[in-house]
């Protein structure tokens, strides 16, 4: 309709030429020129563009991007006038969904199509739907950190998983097929991708771990949070380009309704994020806690590895871990039966052997002496010799409730078990010294079960023995020989390196052979957990850390002359001294009346009950990120079980969006 001309060729309808580039923002993109008027609707313009291009293609995902205004023209019934578009507008006719590479919480890279035109909140929801992660409101995207240039060294080509071809049926809840959401089961490639998502990754190479950047102070920890993207604007508006790398992370530490059955991917990714948080020292923990975390990682890794062997490909470890564990156990039982394990597997749960025993006492120089030791049920008795066995033992100890501590040095061929046995008078200490690994493993397993009140008839005995042997071999292959230069994680099936399980500062503090027994010790308390239980336990332990879930920002409080740290957690704001790290003050969200952002002076002002007012300007990140963090937590606290997974997006945007001029 536009473009009416007179015979002389003059336009008579006040139409003008509009140039539209086809493709993504690319200066050399081809362009088409249309004749339009101010009254032309966007829909009509789109049609014309397609006609003009005259190429057979699915254009349905394409829309017009107005570069100067950084805005998509998505209202097809609006006219050009209404948008205010004139002939000088630089318009790009390009796809709304473009590929990006996501760095997942497990540090794997995944290429997929993300919406560049919808608010990030919706784009993330769509991504999470594709990955089958429930409660996408807890996640968001960050810009990848800029790479330091000195890292020009050859970076190993990393595998990038690809989900760009996958199309998700709209609206319907994902159907499970072969143990995974149906859209993953199309090809071997996507299946592998699902496994990557839903199964824990093996421990990282300790060398890599040492080289990854770690925060050394609170200030460093604020860096991460400056990179969050804005939830209320689209990727395009935030300068993200097709093919860019973005990080997908759990942003809000308030995990709603975590259900191992329905959330295998979510659980696993959460576990991974927690694990990396700990390994990279984003969150601090004590030595004892680290050992528990290491033991859980070891256990999780062992289960997930053996699970792949034991179960048919395609089943979901999250759902079938029990089966996996059982079949795993079976394999082990069969495998070990022919060996000298046999005797310990027979019906009578009893161990008897010559062992050397040492009882530390004050003013005693006596060392280990050989005794005939009988271990039955949960009771350990020892005699001078085998002949005296029917008589009264020198000492008899009920190991129920006792502490069992390994004291092992494989390379030194030292296999001792330290027992701390409680009695009314206190604890009695006793060392058992075994001759070799096999003997040690059997007795150790027996002691451990006995300490929990179980006997060697318990079904877990065999697996316990195996676990101990495995750990010993780990110690042999691991740090035993090469000290500070541990091998990579895939040196051998069981040859896990303990350095891959702990934060680097513990690598410096301990030798691998010191670390291994401690991890083993902690492992005995978790050895019975299934894969998902272990992951869940890991997450819980992570959540129990005092510093859990605090996001740090550098701010300057009104009236203060120095920068301070503001910590935002799911229930409170914390004012922290920058230099010392001490908590100065805590305000809980439940006492919060309102908060405001003055976008002009970039200041956040918060009012609490009892007329407490707090105001600060943000230094390390834009105040919009701080604002969104607070609003996000308020939003998350409004979730209710009854509403299920429905999201009140409007409320979210209302709470987190700003009136900032874009």
């Amino acid at each position: 309709m536009a473009g009416m001309k007179t015979a002389s060729g003059d336009y008579i309808d006040s139409s003008w030429e509009l140039r539209v580039f086809v493709g993504e923002e690319d200066p050399e993109a081809e362009s088409v020129t249309l004749r339009v008027t101010g009254e032309s609707h966007i829909g009509g313009v789109l049609l014309k563009i397609v006609e003009e291009i005259n190429r057979k293609q699915d254009w349905s995902d394409h829309a017009i991007w107005w570069e100067q205004k950084r805005q998509w023209l998505l209202q097809t019934h609006w006219t050009l006038d209404k948008y205010g578009i004139l002939a000088d507008a630089r318009l790009f006719f390009g796809p709304q969904h473009r590929p990006v590479i996501l760095r997942l919480p497990n540090r794997r890279a995944l290429r997929l199509h993300a919406s560049f035109s919808k608010p990030l909140f919706q784009a993330v929801a769509a991504i999470c739907r594709l990955l089958s992660i429930r409660h996408p409101e807890e996640l968001s995207l960050l810009r990848a950190p800029e790479k330091k240039k000195k890292k020009k060294e050859k970076e190993p080509e990393e595998e990038v998983y690809d989900l760009t071809q996958v199309v998700l049926a709209g609206g319907v809840a994902p159907v499970l097929f072969r143990g995974m959401p149906a859209h993953f089961s199309d090809s071997a490639q996507t299946e592998a991708c699902y496994h990557m998502l839903s199964r824990p990754q093996p421990p990282p190479d300790p060398l890599l771990l040492q080289h990854l950047p770690r925060p050394s102070s609170l200030v460093d920890k604020t860096q991460l949070h400056s990179r969050w993207l804005d939830s209320s604007r689209c990727l395009m508006q935030q300068g993200v380009k097709a093919g860019d790398m973005l990080w997908l992370r759990f942003k809000y530490y308030s995990f709603f309704d975590l259900d191992p059955k329905t959330d295998p991917v979510r659980l696993t990714q959460l576990y991974e994020q927690a694990r990396w948080d700990l390994l990279l020292e984003e969150i601090d923990c004590t030595e004892e806690e680290m050992m528990v975390f290491a033991a859980l990682q070891y256990h999780v890794n062992k289960l997930s590895q053996s699970g792949e062997v034991g179960e048919p490909a395609g089943t979901d470890p999250g759902l079938d871990d029990l089966d996996a564990a059982l079949s795993n156990l079976e394999v082990k039982l069969e495998g070990s039966a022919p060996t000298d394990m046999l005797d310990s597997l027979t019906a009578i749960p009893e161990l008897k052997d010559h062992l050397r025993i040492f009882r530390p006492r004050k003013l005693t120089l006596k060392g280990y002496r050989q005794y005939w030791v009988l271990f039955k049920e949960t009771t350990l008795s020892y005699y001078k010799s085998q002949d005296e066995a029917p008589g009264d033992p020198i000492q008899q100890l009920n190991l129920k409730g006792c502490e069992v501590v390994p004291d092992v040095n494989v390379s030194g061929q030292k296999f001792c078990i330290k027992l701390l046995v409680p009695s009314p008078e206190g604890m009695s200490e006793l060392y058992l010294r075994c001759q070799d690994e096999q003997q040690y493993a059997r007795w150790m397993a027996g002691c451990r079960l006995a300490s929990k009140g179980r006997t060697m008839a318990d079904s877990s005995y065999a697996s316990e023995v195996q676990a101990i042997l495995a750990f010993l071999s780990l110690q042999r292959t691991g740090g035993g020989g090469s000290g500070n230069h541990p091998q990579g994680p895939d040196a051998s099936a069981e040859g896990l390196n303990p350095y891959g399980l702990v934060a680097p500062r513990f690598q410096r503090k301990f030798k691998a052979k010191q670390l291994t027994p401690r991890i083993l010790e902690a492992h005995q308390n978790v050895a019975q957990l299934s894969l998902t239980e272990a992951q869940l336990r890991f997450i819980q332990a992570w959540q129990s850390l005092p510093d859990f879930g605090i996001s740090y920002f550098m701010v300057r409080f009104k009236g203060s002359r120095k920068d301070e740290i503001l910590g935002i957690a799911n229930n409170r704001l914390i004012r922290i001294d920058l230099a010392v790290g001490d908590v100065v003050k805590t305000w809980r969200f439940s006492n919060m009346r309102q908060w405001n952002v003055n976008w002009d002076i970039r200041q956040v002002a918060i009012e609490f009950d009892e007329h407490i007012n707090v105001a600060f300007s943000c230094v390390s990140a834009s105040c919009r990120i701080v604002h969104e963090y607070i609003g996000g937590y308020i939003f998350l606290s409004t979730r209710e079980r009854a509403r299920g997974e429905e999201l009140d997006e409007d409320l979210f945007l209302q709470l987190t969006g700003g009136h900032e001029a874009f």
Binding site: L258, D284, E289, P422, M427, Q543, S544, P546, G581, R588
Partner: protein
């Protein structure tokens, strides 16, 4: 003593059996069903104690007397009723059998699995034809062994039933039992049987019934170690026998039953533990107030997430040095994983902390008068030790706080770290229990009948037999849900007896039911309109009502029938109504399991009864056959009892 106690056990069991029968028969006539709960406790008696810890709890004559007195009182009472009932009820005879059955089944849970139980019962009968009475008299067997045997059969029945119903609680149990002497706050003592499976919560419930206290959440079992001068509460989920088995034979340790507001202080005023910011320290104790809604959300936040939040707690404490009487001041921090301290010259960041102790193998105790005993800087001490340690040892850790508030914060914090959500669950159960109690009281005022307290803990022995089993079942399954519900409602209105939200509506009462025995009785009550027995059924839960205990039992049948249902567990009612006692309730077997042990008689009755006419008569005589047998049995019992008493006195 050993022998006599055996005898007594036997007698108890027989008595119980009798009581069952009696109550049941009564129930037909006048009262609704017996209550389940109380029975439980009594039940145990039948089992008989093993000698295991006899030394510990060496039975004293007084104790025995007390136990006996309870029983006898119950019995005589029951007897009277019976006599009355007999007069009235002879007509209904045939009913009785069915009724009994129905009672039991009802109790069990509406009679599903009735068939099964029935079979077991019948077997039982065969095996134990001679009702308990015989065994009692005849079988003075050696103390420990004898009881177990008879019991074992019983147990078997019970277990099978348990599997049917899916409840694990309170079935008669042939395992280890202890007679525990509990010191009350008025310096008196009570002895009660505690079996190997009972948790502190069960024992508390038991004590509530025996003492008519107000059942509030502050009541606790408390262990004190005079020698070490330490003490602590039993957590409600702890297995009492297990704890006691750590005591030595000659121990002076005691178990107390008293109120300690510290027990659940954190749930009443979470802000005192969770919002104790360092910044506020100067604010002293001004932060005491918080509105209920905020408290609730604070609790929810702390206890209902994926993991429990341990209160942030740190500060300087005095630590007693091993083996010395000197105390060193150190800066300690509480974390979920244990207590840590800041080593000299280090900061209190996580990476520098040194682990002082982890909670897996230790319990927390209050230290008493440590100032005197160990020259502690203050008397606000807490102690960590392995539960098995009973004597002074370097493995016991003593810590001393500056003031009482700090002490309470540490003790509570450590308990939260050690027990996690279990603590909250315990509290909710306790609230449910307390809520029930208050409700009952309120009801009592409204309806004199109810207060009958039929159940009142005292009678315990007698009444309970019937309902007992069922209770267990119901209680097990329902308690939790109810507890939650309860807790919610209770929180708001617990104290006010009068206001039930929906006093009339049966729904309102569910909680009571849950915690208490199952309501099976209800139906009967309607059918039979019993007098004395009914109270038991309904009341089991509401022991508290101050009103006359025994006296009230015989509320007007009609009233009972109606009113009870309301408060009582509604669940069973439908079945009840279903039919006239006899026909509808064929599957009453459930009760037998519980009964059997003690009262072989009753169960057999069930099996054979159908034909039998008069309830009462039949009941008593059951096994042996006919009413006459019953009579004999009773008289035998009484003789035995009297003899016993005579001996003692």
């Amino acid at each position: 003593m050993g022998e006599s106690s055996d005898d007594i056990d036997q007698m108890f069991s027989t008595l119980l059996g009798e009581m069952d029968l009696l109550t049941q028969s009564l129930g037909v006539d006048t009262l609704p069903p017996p209550d389940p709960k109380p029975p439980r406790a009594e039940f145990n008696y039948s089992v008989g104690f093993k000698d295991l810890n006899e030394s510990l709890n060496a039975l004293e004559d007084q104790d025995l007397d007390a136990l006996m007195a309870d029983l006898v009182a119950d019995i005589s009472e029951a007897e009277q009723r019976t006599i009355q009932a007999q007069k009235e009820s002879s007509q209904n005879q045939h009913h009785s059998a069915s009724t009994e059955a129905s009672n039991f089944s009802g109790a069990a849970s509406l009679g599903y699995g009735a068939n099964v139980t029935a079979t077991s019962v019948s077997q039982y009968v065969d095996d134990l034809p001679p009702p308990p009475a015989d065994p009692v008299l005849d079988l003075p067997l050696p103390p420990p062994p004898p009881p177990p045997e008879p019991l074992s059969q019983v147990t078997g029945g019970a277990t099978s039933r348990a599997s049917l119903t899916g409840s694990k609680l309170s079935f008669p149990w042939s395992g280890l039992q202890l007679v525990v002497k509990v010191h009350m706050d008025d310096n008196s003592t009570k002895s009660l049987m505690v079996d190997e499976r009972q948790l502190a919560r069960d024992v508390l419930d038991n004590l509530f019934e025996k003492t008519h206290c107000d059942c509030n959440v502050d009541w606790c079992l408390y262990e004190i170690y005079p020698e070490l001068q330490i003490e602590r509460f039993f957590e409600d989920h702890e297995n009492v026998v297990e704890v006691l088995s750590d005591w030595t034979r000659d121990t002076e340790n005691k178990v107390l039953f008293l109120e300690k507001e510290e027990k659940y202080a954190v749930f009443k005023n979470p802000q005192n533990f969770y919002l104790n910011n360092k910044g506020k320290k100067e604010g002293k104790e001004t932060n005491e107030k918080m509105n209920a809604k905020n408290k609730e959300s604070l609790l929810e936040e702390s206890f209902c997430g994926t993991s429990v939040i341990v209160p942030e707690l740190e500060g300087a404490l005095y630590l007693k040095e091993d083996g010395k009487k000197s105390w060193k001041r150190r800066y300690f921090l509480l974390r979920a994983s244990g207590i840590y301290y800041v080593p000299k010259g280090k900061t209190k960041t996580s990476r520098d902390l040194a682990c002082f102790i982890q909670f897996e193998n230790v319990n927390i105790y209050y230290g008493i008068q440590c100032k005197m005993k160990y020259k502690a800087p203050t008397d606000y001490c807490f102690v960590l030790k392995h539960p098995q340690i009973q004597k002074e040892s370097q493995y016991i850790k003593y810590l001393c706080c500056d003031d009482a508030r700090t002490l309470n914060q540490w003790v509570m914090g450590i308990r939260i770290a050690k027990y996690g959500k279990t603590l909250y669950d315990n509290y909710q159960r306790a609230m449910a229990r307390a809520g029930l109690a208050s409700r009952w009281t309120s009801l009592g005022t409204v309806n004199a009948v109810t207060p009958a307290q039929p159940c009142t803990g005292l009678k315990t022995g007698a009444t309970q037999p019937n309902g007992q089993i069922p209770q267990a079942v119901h209680a097990a399954s329902a308690v939790l849900e109810e507890a939650q519900r309860q807790a919610e409602t209770a929180k708001e209105k617990r104290p006010a007896p009068g206001n039930h939200r929906e006093p009339a509506a049966p729904r309102a009462h569910p909680a009571p039911r849950a915690s208490l025995p199952p309501p099976p009785p209800v139906r009967r009550s309607s059918d039979t309109g019993g007098s004395p027995a009914p109270p038991d059924d309904f009341l089991p839960p509401p022991p508290p009502p101050p009103l006359g205990d025994a006296e009230l039992p015989p509320p007007p049948p009609p009233e009972l029938a109606d009113s009870p249902p309301d408060f009582v567990p509604p669940p069973p009612p439908p079945p009840v109504l279903a039919g006239d006692p006899g026909s509808a309730l064929p599957p009453p077997p459930p009760p037998p399991p519980s009964l059997r042990p003690e009262c072989a008689g009753p169960s057999p009755t069930v099996a054979k009864r159908p034909p039998m006419p008069p309830k009462r008569h039949d009941n008593p005589g059951l096994p042996a056959g006919g009413g006459s047998g019953e009579q004999d049995f009773m008289s035998d019992l009484m003789k035995a009892l009297q003899k016993k008493r005579g001996n003692m006195s």
